[in-house]
């Protein structure tokens, strides 16, 4: 059934891989110490021993973290058999709730237990949240002292509900927890009460309409489905061998399920990354994860990094030490190791100078030294549009491919999506969402191959009247017709005719179908801007997915209550910036040979090492300070929080230092060669920057200078 499946392993990795198929092993070590390779070795060894692949479960906090395992299986030439399963708590809970729904829906309190459940995506959650609580917010003047966008307020309410679910407390406890730990006066207390009222209203609405956001899905799974004998029997039969990776990045709900799985299964390997736990803002609880150690028969520890250079190791230790990180493991080497060879820094006055410097250094690495772009990552605490654009343009000018990755990218910002959305407004006049003239010009330019913005503006100035496009023949001036050209005029006419026929016909309420028809019948045809254009195809497909998912959610609820126009509601949500779903297919591109431009935590969650890292904006406070979130708090709403405690400014400062310490350790442990530090005195917005990371780096360089070490530092 299976040929010899092997990868090169060290002795300690081989020992893990070769452990008997009835052993449950806890494996701990720093990032880059070879734990995942040991896990892959274990997986291949199990298969080699004839264990059915479908009985093996790889359990990770985020699906992309299972890629090394799947990649190893794919690349093995000899394997025949079943397929290993990959699960996360999100995926497992969704599949199980969906499968056993009809056995638990009534008991769980859903209003229509005979009907199917409807699992909500983030944008559907935001839509229903807005629909349910906005009247309350407006009538009762909720959150009137909080000066942030409504969409961000609502996302914090969602965040609170999700934290309650993953930690395991009722949503009624959200406000009491926050109020007792964060005494901010009567006004702040009201804000927490209001947030909880909104959460409860939303929960009631979901229950009444068979809707499941992530928090309800998880609660129903843990409280109902997981107690069903059929559900447990199914899981017990299915998954006999468990490989859990990055368990420290998972949440208490996941740990609870893993504890049961560990008791049920025949063998297990649980991998724990020391000094990590970056997903705390997502509910990760590395301390709680340690409880799983007791359910394993044996413990193993990998101490040595197989990634870091001596200097990189010294840099991680020095910076973490500078930040007073008490948790550092595996860093007891000689304090005399010099961190400077792994560090290249340069100070600039202005932000654009720093960006140019980074692009020049990458140019040197790629075009002079032959470094693969894939071995370079450029990071900042936040990746603003300005910084992203400047970096991508700077690298393109140097003939270097780059890809930027932001978890939440608004589709409406993409030209293809903007054009489709504008045409949707034009094609549905009854929605009274007439687009602005410039938007129409932009859409026409995007749609018609060869048409520039100037001529597109001329066309719309002449032919966009009363919310409709007139035919090209209505251009009376021959000079103007010549300027536009008859060829482009003919293309314009085809688009205009299609839109007007659509308006005269029976416009569909299904906006995704409208997008697909317009794409297939006009925009993707020869002579139009989306023809043979993979970016436009991908963006259009994302928009179709988003609109279809939205429509399905709303159609579902329509069975129980009157709804307004689906398409109009969708466009309204787009205008309000709610469309921000993240699609896995964006991750698939991670194998491309490009420089990665990403926020620091996004890079970390990809869990891979590179040769060169660029840390930009090192003066930014964003490296250490968490986002302003007046309605929630990641630590107070965590499992380890004691009800009698108060969160103080000292706690906040200590947490910032600890968070930054973990971050720099994690980054240095994922760097094989050098780290370039980019600093500008003035930030992108022109403010002086003196953040905690800069302070730590200054301290480090001062100490190095005192030791009179020759280095390349110029700060």
């Amino acid at each position: 059934m299976s040929a010899k499946l092997q990868i090169p392993l060290t002795a300690e990795q081989a020992a893990i891989a070769a452990a008997a198929p009835d052993r449950k092993i806890w494996l701990e070590g720093i990032a880059g110490s070879g734990k995942t390779s040991a896990g892959i070795g274990r997986l291949l060894r199990l298969l080699e021993q004839g264990i059915p692949a479908e009985s093996i479960l790889i359990y990770v906090p985020q699906r992309s973290l299972a890629q090394p395992y799947l990649q190893a299986l794919r690349q093995h030439s000899g394997y025949s058999g079943g397929q290993v399963a990959v699960q996360t708590i999100g995926g497992l809970s969704l599949q199980m709730v969906e499968a056993f729904w009809f056995l638990i829906a009534e008991r769980a309190g859903f209003g229509h237990p005979q009907d199917l459940p409807n699992f909500l995506s983030l944008e559907s959650v935001q839509y229903f949240m807005t629909k349910v609580i906005e009247p309350l917010v407006n009538q009762r003047d909720y959150f009137n002292s909080v000066r942030i966008e409504r969409a961000r307020l609502y996302s914090q309410i969602v965040d609170n509900m999700n934290k309650a679910a993953v930690v395991g407390f009722r949503i009624e406890q959200i406000a009491p927890r926050l109020k007792s730990a964060l005494p901010g006066g009567v006004e702040q207390g009201h804000i927490y009460d209001d947030a909880q009222t909104c959460a409860l209203e939303f929960r009631q609405y979901c229950l009444a309409n068979n809707l499941l956001d992530f928090s309800l899905q998880l609660e129903v799974f843990l409280d109902q489905v997981w107690n069903l004998p059929q559900a447990r029997a199914h899981v017990r039969r299915r998954y006999r061998h468990l490989i859990v990776d990055n368990v420290e990045e998972d949440n208490p709900a996941s740990h609870r399920i893993l504890a049961d799985l560990l008791r049920m299964c025949q063998s297990a390997l649980v991998i724990y990354d020391s000094d990590a736990g970056f997903r705390r803002f997502l509910g990760a609880d590395p301390e709680n994860a340690r409880g799983l150690q007791d359910l394993c028969d044996s413990q193993a520890q990998f101490a040595d990094s197989k990634v870091m250079s001596v200097a990189g190791r010294a840099l991680g230790r020095a910076l973490a030490g500078q930040l007073g990180a008490p948790f550092v493991t595996g860093l007891d080497e000689s304090a005399e190791d010099d961190p400077q060879p792994s560090l290249i820094t340069e100070a600039h006055r202005y932000h654009p100078q720093m960006v140019d410097w980074a692009a020049d250094r990458i140019d040197e690495l790629v075009n002079r030294q032959g470094v693969s772009p894939r071995e370079i990552v450029v990071m900042a605490p936040f990746m603003s549009d300005v910084l992203r654009f400047a970096l991508v343009e700077g690298l393109m000018a140097r003939d270097i491919r780059a890809r930027s990755h932001r978890p939440s990218r608004a589709l409406r910002d993409e030209p293809a999506a903007r054009a489709l959305l504008t045409f949707a407004r034009l094609a549905h006049p009854r929605w009274s969402m007439t687009p602005a003239e410039f938007d129409v010009a932009f859409a026409v330019m995007t749609a018609i191959d060869g048409l520039d913005l100037i001529r597109a503006k001329l066309l719309t100035e002449m032919l966009y009247r009363g919310g409709r496009l007139l035919p090209f023949s209505d251009v009376k001036s021959e000079a103007m017709q010549d300027r536009i050209t008859y060829e482009l005029g003919a293309r314009y006419d085809r688009l205009q005719t299609w839109l007007n026929n659509y308006i005269e016909g029976a416009p569909t309420e299904a906006l995704d179908i409208f997008f697909r028809q317009l794409f297939g019948e006009v925009l993707s045809r020869p002579g139009f801007g989306f023809h043979d254009n993979s970016d436009a195809g991908n963006i259009s497909m994302n928009l179709v997915d988003s609109a279809r998912n939205f429509r399905w959610s709303l159609e579902f609820v329509r069975r129980y209550e009157d709804q307004t126009d689906l398409g109009r509601d969708y466009l309204d949500m787009v205008d309000r910036g709610v469309i921000a779903d993240f699609y896995l297919r964006d991750w698939i591109a991670d194998n491309d040979d490009c420089v990665l431009i990403a926020p620091a935590y996004t890079f970390l969650l990809g869990n891979r090492a590179v040769d060169y890292q660029f840390w930009l904006n090192i003066g930014s406070e964003g490296w250490a300070r968490r986002l302003y979130q007046p309605l929630t708090h990641p630590h107070v709403l965590s499992l380890g929080w004691r009800a009698d405690r108060t969160w103080t400014d000292d706690d906040e400062a200590a947490m910032n230092r600890q968070t930054l310490g973990r971050l720099v350790l994690a980054l240095t442990r994922r760097c094989r060669k050098e780290i370039y530090l980019g600093y500008s005195e003035l930030s992108e917005s022109g403010h002086e920057q003196r953040g905690l990371l800069l302070e730590a780096i200054h301290g480090l360089l001062r100490r190095s200078a005192a030791k009179n070490i020759n280095g390349k530092a110029h700060v």
Binding site: Q62, S80, G82, T88, L282, H531, S540, W587
Partner: protein, 272 residues
């Protein structure tokens, strides 16, 4: 080599390669996503595709232990689906071996490439029969010869013979393999197709050739049979007409369910 080393062939990709090399190139080599409508009317097509997916989910739920009556109770909103379910309950599992694995995927290697088959149901008894069951919600029952030539038939039997031994207690003799297409929209009518060692060799040669052609190809010509373009989303790129009529489409459940499903798993992780 036109494809990445870890590319896996499925029935869908092999059928694309056999039907239209150009479609294969666009979808799997260039990875070009083209969201045109597959069939008109689009909403009716969507409904039928979703019905097919829901039926398969029902079978899976039943095989996971949910009582058939409970599932029937949930079909009050779809009489057509309820009728399919009724047909399944009558004959869907009749006469099948007791060792049953629903929604299982197997993979093997051929010509340096992975082949993957995802089965609705495998029913096998060690040393006895090894039955592949595939439920179809097509409105019309095709001729046996049509089914026999489908890539699904060729691939599924071959992969089971090569990669299903662990479910059977040892290598599966090809003569023990049977494939059943069960047409629930036609009252559960079954069409069965046997297998043999000679057929396995023939299928292996065919698959090897097809894979080698793809790997060696320098050009991927557009099919000359324009009827194959009717339900292809790339037809606007190739200038091959408008979306085909749903009345002419029988095999709507071949449009992958994944096309209609977001990866909620990943989204849930990110959003939270």
């Amino acid at each position: 080599m036109n494809l990445p080393d870890d590319f896996a062939f499925t029935q869908g990709s092999l059928q694309d390669a056999a039907d239209c090399p150009r479609r294969f190139e666009l979808r799997y080599i260039k990875r070009l996503r083209y969201p045109a409508v597959e069939a008109a009317p689009a909403l009716q097509f969507e409904r039928r595709t979703r019905q097919g997916a829901r039926f398969h989910k029902l079978v899976q739920q039943h095989l996971m232990g949910l009582p058939a009556e409970t599932l029937a109770w949930s079909l009050h909103d779809d009489p057509e689906l309820a009728a399919w379910w009724g047909a399944f309950r009558k004959t869907g599992l009749t006469g099948l071996p007791q060792g049953r694995q629903a929604e299982i995927a197997l993979q093997t290697r051929l010509g340096g490439r992975r082949l993957i088959a995802k089965y609705d149901l495998l029913a096998l008894d060690a040393g006895g029969e090894a039955v592949i069951v595939d439920w179809k919600t097509w409105r019309r029952v095709p001729a046996q010869s049509h089914l026999q030539g489908r890539l699904q038939t060729i691939l599924y039997r071959y992969v089971l013979a090569k990669a299903g031994g662990h479910l059977y207690g040892g290598p599966i003799p090809p003569e023990k393999i049977h494939m059943i297409y069960s047409f629930v929209a036609a009252g559960g009518q079954r069409l069965g197709i046997d297998y043999s060692a000679a057929q396995l060799r023939e299928d292996e040669d065919y698959l090897l050739n097809l894979i080698a052609e793809i790997d060696r190809a320098e050009q991927f010509p557009l099919t000359e049979d324009e009827t194959r373009c009717r339900f292809c989303t790339y037809r606007s790129l190739c200038e091959r007409g408008e979306a085909g009529s749903l009345d002419l489409l029988d095999e709507e459940d071949e449009f992958a369910e994944e096309d209609y499903r977001l990866d909620f798993d990943q989204i849930a992780e990110i959003e939270f």
